[in-house]
């Protein structure tokens, strides 16, 4: 009702409600009322969601009231799957309500008739706003909305979001001029409270994330529930858990698997079976975090660490949409640290506090794409475009110089070298108006629109059988024919690669290798990490923990000490002829990877002979030939200066980031099936470009955008900086005679955690030397064999 009142007054509205609760239809209600008299000509309401599947689902749900009330309303969807003829028709004779994605909106805005098409627009509904704001897709959408504000100034905005820690930021994001006050906030009363339990078990492993020990209990829970979603954190975990559950599945319950690498058709089938109530359980990754609501789910199981409170709540919210029942959830930690994390998340949920980073400033790469798109629709004035771009909240603080540099990049590459500006994409007329240099660029733009740059993947195909899904190319690179791996719930034998397809056969492999997908690894949230530290620091609170965990922490207190809430504990100890250094930094896996590399580098310089490191969400452990004597110096703030700069500039992670930025900004084209280079070549080429640009034009706008991205994400340099600053002068160094109880889980991860690409770069020459040793070994063996009597 609050929505209707706001709509009548033409106010912008942000509706924050837990998953389900019919909030999507609530967003459409004002539009349906306005359209009921049949007087509106042209497009009235635009609905934008991050998922194609959601546009179709919402369309179905909307057709029902339209048909029941015989409303004179035409509603259609438009996504990348919509046939060309229908898209063209939609531009000439638009429906009243159009359901689409951020990318399709950008495309529609790039046509010269965009002003006519959107001139009649009265309302824009943005669904799952919490998932879009703060991402590059969100940046693209924010810029698209700013354009819409120019084309249809009176247009009302409605945002729909799950509960978040930063509603003010979302209000700002939704507002037409980055002013939170312009947007009414409607918060849905909390639904029935959730019933969340931590799985009790006496067998708590030291390491691992798949909770194999607890799967019999999980299976029992599935048996007792109607329908269950079993959430895991990575696709590899999904494969393992799915397989193990089927080994336990004596009753042959219909249990399915859902993750982002499976063939789209297969995922659709699982979703349809779920919607029809034909499944008892589905093992899923974040591929089911968003999307279609299923009323029938009555239990959510989270296997492994929750990683963040808001994320866990969204997952739990997928169950119990029947009003008479609370959501039910079961947390299943995979190891002892994950018990702490689960308990911290539970406490936070009970206290009603949330975590999550508010959206940061928008990317310059996305801005470059938007500028080119704007030019495709028609000539633009730079002053007016700058003003318009700053209406979008992610770009509200955009400096004029950043805008100008980005514009120059779109215009002619924006390079410092004189004489190169004869090649251009935009031409300028005297009064500051920019035109597209040739229509060919519009075609290029439309083929490359969007901000999702996928890792290079290969199709997985059964020999003489169907396509099962896709895997990242880097995973396949680690395999040789004959190797086995689990995929799509089956053990498959790798036979070889034909062009872009991985050929496999079914096999009953004994010990399969497991897909080591790059995706799906979320680092522990800063908020949750802080709560875990606090919990460790307050033994009075340990009573809530299972006895094995209490004993573990007690042993740590006696043998070493516990990491203080605002201090950094560093232990050093010898083990099997190696010296270990373990830092309990609690800064998340990505920041720890970076810290591990920097520590290794500094220990190398101190002639300590570092040999390797392992990074988990909680600790980083480095081993070396000689013990570190001056530990606080190793963690000195100067690490953030030249060391970090130098390492980052050279790291594979930054190269990968640059590649994404180069594609989004339009420096190089993205891949298109059929007529393009292979993904491998693109990777190679952007590395070459990166090297040259870094050396000869270090201030180039694309390098600035790359560094901006690296401060978050894979490198998490921002979080590392916070950590180091916080602990200066507060480092507790403990010299031990052997490994401490708290260090055991990290040491057990050694060899299991894949070496990051960045580390690989560093280790390249060592790898080659090892290889030479191996390569020359057969000669030696031959010679020795020759000396033996026949």
């Amino acid at each position: 009702m609050a929505m209707l009142a706001a709509a009548r007054e033409g106010r912008h509205t942000l509706l924050i409600a837990p998953t389900g609760g019919g909030k999507t239809l609530a967003g459409f209600l004002p539009s349906l009322i306005e359209l009921a008299d049949g007087d509106h000509d042209g497009l009235h309401t635009l609905y934008i969601s991050p998922l194609k599947a959601l546009t179709q689902d919402v369309h179905r749900n909307l057709e029902q009231p339209i048909a029941e009330m015989s409303l004179p309303v035409r509603a259609e969807t438009r996504t990348g799957d919509t046939p060309e003829a229908k898209r063209r028709r939609q531009r000439h004779r638009p429906p009243h309500i159009l359901m689409t994605t951020p990318e399709s909106l950008a495309l529609m805005l790039s046509y010269p008739d965009a002003a006519t098409l959107f001139g009649s627009l009265r309302a824009v509904i943005v669904d799952e706003l919490h998932a879009l704001a703060g991402s590059k897709r969100g940046d693209l959408l924010a810029l698209g909305l700013a354009r819409l504000a120019r084309l249809s100034p009176g247009c009302r905005r409605i945002g729909l979001s799950a509960t978040v820690a930063w509603p003010e930021h979302l209000r700002r994001w939704l507002s037409p001029d980055a002013d939170a006050a312009a947007v009414d906030l409607v918060t849905c009363a909390k639904g029935m409270s959730a019933d969340i339990a931590l799985l009790e078990s006496d067998r708590l492993p030291w390491a691992g994330h798949t909770a194999q020990y607890a799967l019999p209990e999980v299976y029992d829970a599935i048996r007792q529930a109607g329908t269950t979603i079993v959430f895991v954190n990575t696709r590899a975990q999904a494969e393992i858990v799915f397989r193990q559950l089927w080994l336990l599945n004596a009753e042959s319950l219909p249990i399915a698997l859902h993750h982002g690498s499976l063939a789209a058709e297969q995922r659709r089938k699982v979703e349809a079976a779920m919607a029809a109530g034909r499944l008892r359980a589905v093992v899923a990754t974040s591929s089911l975090d968003l999307g279609v609501d299923w009323a029938a789910v009555d239990l959510v199981v989270q296997i492994g660490a929750p990683k963040g409170v808001s994320r866990l709540l969204q997952r739990i919210g997928r169950s119990g949409h029947r009003l008479d029942r609370p959501s039910r959830a079961l947390l299943v930690p995979g190891n002892r640290f994950e018990v702490l994390e689960c308990q911290a998340a539970l406490d936070a949920i009970r206290e009603g506090v949330l975590d999550g980073e508010p959206p940061g400033p928008g990317g310059l790469d996305v801005l470059a794409q938007h500028i080119l798109g704007t030019a495709c629709a028609g000539p633009f004035d730079a002053e007016a475009l700058f003003a318009e771009v700053r209406w979008a909240a992610p770009y509200a603080g955009l400096a004029r110089s950043d805008f100008d540099d980005t514009l120059r990049f779109v215009e002619d590459g924006g390079y410092a070298l004189a004489g190169y500006d004869r090649y251009r994409r935009l031409t300028r007329t005297g009064n500051g108006t920019y035109h597209l240099a040739t229509p060919a660029f519009a075609r290029l733009y439309r083929m490359n629109v969007g901000t999702i740059v996928e890792a290079v993947t290969l199709k997985v195909k059964l020999r003489k059988g169907p396509i099962l899904g896709e895997v990242e190319e880097t995973f396949i690179q680690g395999l040789t024919p004959g190797d086995t791996f689990i995929f799509s719930g089956e053990v498959l034998r790798f036979e070889g690669v034909r062009e872009t397809t991985v050929m496999v056969t079914r096999t009953a492999g004994v010990e399969p290798k497991v897909p080591a997908y790059a995706g799906g690894r979320m680092p522990l949230s800063t908020f949750l990490a802080a709560r875990v530290r606090r919990m460790l620091d307050q033994p009075a609170h340990w009573q809530a923990l299972p006895p094995p965990v209490q004993e573990w922490l007690e042993a740590q207190r006696q043998r070493s000490q516990l990491p203080g809430a605002d201090r950094l504990l560093v232990e050093t100890f010898p083990r099997r002829g190696r010296e270990f250094l373990v830092a309990y930094a609690f800064a998340g896996r990505n920041a720890h990877q970076t810290l591990g590399l920097l520590l290794t580098r500094r220990m190398e310089r101190a002639a300590l002979g570092p040999l390797g490191f392992v990074a988990t969400d909680y600790v980083v452990a480095v081993w070396s030939l000689r013990p570190a004597t001056d530990v606080p110096a190793l963690f000195g703030l100067d690490m953030l200066g030249d060391d970090l700069e130098e390492w980052m500039a050279d790291s594979a992670v930054l190269r990968r980031t640059f590649r994404t930025i180069a594609v989004i900004a339009g420096l190089i084209e993205r891949r298109h099936p059929g007529h393009e280079k292979t993904g491998r070549q693109v990777t190679f080429n952007t590395d070459l470009i990166y090297n040259v640009l870094r050396r000869y034009d270090p201030g180039h706008v694309l390098l600035r955008a790359t560094r901006q991205d690296a401060a978050r994400g894979f490198v998490d340099a921002g979080r590392l900086a916070d950590l180091l600053t916080r602990v200066q002068g507060r480092i507790d160094v403990r010299r031990l005679d052997r490994v401490s109880p708290l260090a055991v889980p990290a040491l057990l991860e050694i060899g299991k955690e894949p070496v990051d690409g960045a580390a690989l770069n560093e280790l390249l020459d060592e790898a080659a030397r090892t290889l030479i040793a191996e390569a020359t070994a057969p000669d030696l063996a031959d010679r020795e064999a020759g000396t033996l009597p026949a």
Partner: protein, 228 residues
């Protein structure tokens, strides 16, 4: 930065980690596939890559020339990315190249990309070049009558396994009769040594000299990963 000594056709040769070949007995430096002005060539096709590739390539070449002071420099073809490259070259780069050429013999072997156009800068343009027992040409021609042939054209690279990953690096390829150099240009990609175009030319038991960060690693073909 040291190189790996090879004896090739009875001539002392050093494979340098920068991807060039040094022939100390002749005070000669050999480089392949510079592809100068590739950036501006692509820019004409409206792909606005950073235009510093020529400068980057010449800077790398200058380092080698200063260090080894060759009397003779041989570029094994495709020195320019296309026939128009010499005209598009920025004046500073043209002067820089002139400085490198001054006081030494400079041989441009004609490639399939640049033909004879490199001659516009100076130096001699030839189809192939004899140096003692060595024949230097752009592309290995597949015939058997060359005792020792040095060529470029293919931009060879090799894949090695390390930490369960595949690392691909530019390399020299050598089967005692033919030596094929990696591409020297800043914007040059590569072709796997197991590509049929290369294996058709090479004896089955060839070796590669992989370019590491600061050294060259010699590996037998059997130690390499096959292309997928």
């Amino acid at each position: 930065m040291t190189g790996t000594p090879l004896t090739f056709g009875g001539v002392a040769a050093i494979a340098l980690p920068e991807g060039a070949l040094l022939l100390p007995d002749h005070a000669a430096l050999v480089v392949a596939d510079l592809h100068l002005e590739k950036g501006s060539g692509l820019a004409r096709q409206r792909c606005l890559l950073p235009p510093y590739d020529t400068r980057a390539t010449l800077d790398r070449l200058e380092v080698l020339i200063r260090r080894w002071q060759p009397r003779l420099v041989i570029c094994l073809g495709d020195s320019f990315h296309d026939g128009g490259g010499t005209n598009r070259m920025a004046p500073a780069d043209r002067d820089g190249l002139g400085g490198l050429m001054a006081g030494r013999t400079w041989i441009w072997i004609a490639g399939n990309h640049d033909g004879v156009h490199a001659g516009a800068i100076g130096g001699q343009v030839v189809a192939s070049f004899r140096l003692g027992p060595l024949t230097l040409r752009h592309q290995a021609d597949g015939s058997d009558d060359h005792a020792a042939e040095v060529s470029g054209h293919f931009h060879p690279k090799a894949a090695v396994a390390a930490y369960r990953r595949r690392i691909t690096l530019p390399c020299f390829v050598d089967d005692n009769r033919r030596l094929i150099l990696p591409a020297f240009g800043a914007y040059t990609g590569g072709l796997d040594v197991f590509d049929p175009a290369l294996t058709a030319l090479l004896a089955p038991r060839f070796r590669v000299h992989v370019l590491g960060r600061d050294r060259v690693h010699t590996l037998p073909a059997a130690a390499l990963l096959r292309p997928r």
